[in-house]
Symmetry: C2
Subunit: 204 residues, 2 copies
């Protein structure tokens, strides 16, 4: 039976209950690891689940940076150097990818701390994750200030894609079940996916 939870009820929620409630009601999505390096080459790796498609021409993606949960280092590095990588997390990578959310000191790279290997691309400053089946090379393009809670929406352009072509079908679609793409709800509930159906283009 449905009940209605209103703003007065929100205010009565215990702090961590409230965070879980609002983090998980927007559904499930694929986590990614963002790889950056600062001007001195010190690497950083952070998991996040707020990636959103912006468009295919030019190819562009958005990320919400919430200073409270995403280490500020990633945002500082990508603005300083203008580049970053996005690395799809797979189900075998969940433990190491989740561990990047621990608050390591700045001088410690999450790569070595969690046991993932950095990989470098020609003329590109930010490291990718060797264990990921899909790495996107990104150029920072726009930063929007979200007034409601002082978060930041970053828009980036895709400059290159490193993947195995057997993960792409004849229509250009990535085969997420074959890639073992991981899923997460909120910050800690992990899921796997099972393909159901490809629907035809809808007409009235």
């Amino acid at each position: 039976m449905k009940t209605f939870i209103n703003q007065a009820d929100f205010e009565k929620m215990e702090r961590f209950y409230r965070v879980s409630f609002f983090n998980t009601l927007s559904g499930i999505r694929s986590p990614f690891l963002i790889g950056t390096a600062n001007g001195q080459g010190q690497t950083n790796l952070a998991i996040f689940n707020s990636l959103v498609h912006i468009g295919a021409n030019p190819p562009a993606l958005g990320i919400v940076f919430r200073p409270s949960t995403i280490p500020r280092h990633s945002l500082e590095n990508l603005i300083e150097t203008g580049v970053y990588t996005l690395n799809l997390v797979t189900t075998p990578m969940i433990d190491s990818a989740h561990q990047t959310s621990a608050k390591y000191d700045r001088e410690i790279s999450e790569f070595s701390a969690v046991g993932l290997n950095p990989i470098y691309y020609e003329d590109f400053h930010a490291p990718g994750v060797e264990e990921s089946p899909l790495t996107l090379l990104m150029k920072f393009r726009e930063k929007h200030h979200i007034a409601i809670n002082d978060t930041v929406f970053v828009v980036g352009e895709i400059l290159g894609v490193s993947t195995d072509k057997t993960f792409i079908d004849d229509n250009g679609s990535f085969l997420h079940q074959k890639m073992q793409t991981a899923l997460v709800s909120g910050l800690d509930d992990y899921y796997q996916s099972k393909k159901m159906v490809t629907k035809a283009y809808a007409r009235p």
Copy 2:
């Protein structure tokens, strides 16, 4: 074996191949139906997959509106009236929810066209979807123009939540497998989810 797909390769892609490629490489996420009504009460319902968590206090969510794929009516209505609903799509709802993406004439409501039932809340102009297990009542708060491709990022505040409390665990997290939350990659590849693990808060 990984290969590298660069900007010159992007330009050689056939048009629909390119759209599928860039729509599906950002992973899988839960589709939602956005419910709106214009000033005269004419209802509109549209599926989209670009919902992103902004924060829990105040509770806020973002949506990317891409005029080419999301009917402009939803965006026009929510700006005109200041309110909209977000309705989680479940696996039994996939056929009807997907059908809302057909280009119906403005005077036709997608509710009746696809066979979903509108439900109204006290003092709230926008209709929810009765068949959805989770409806969010939203207030329009911010609109950001994304320069790279003239899309719009809309930020809204959650005013109320209509759901069954048995879908929420003791920690405040929604139980998406129990809700039968649907998943979509790009515009037409639908998936179901299976819970794997709840990870502990990560510490160095």
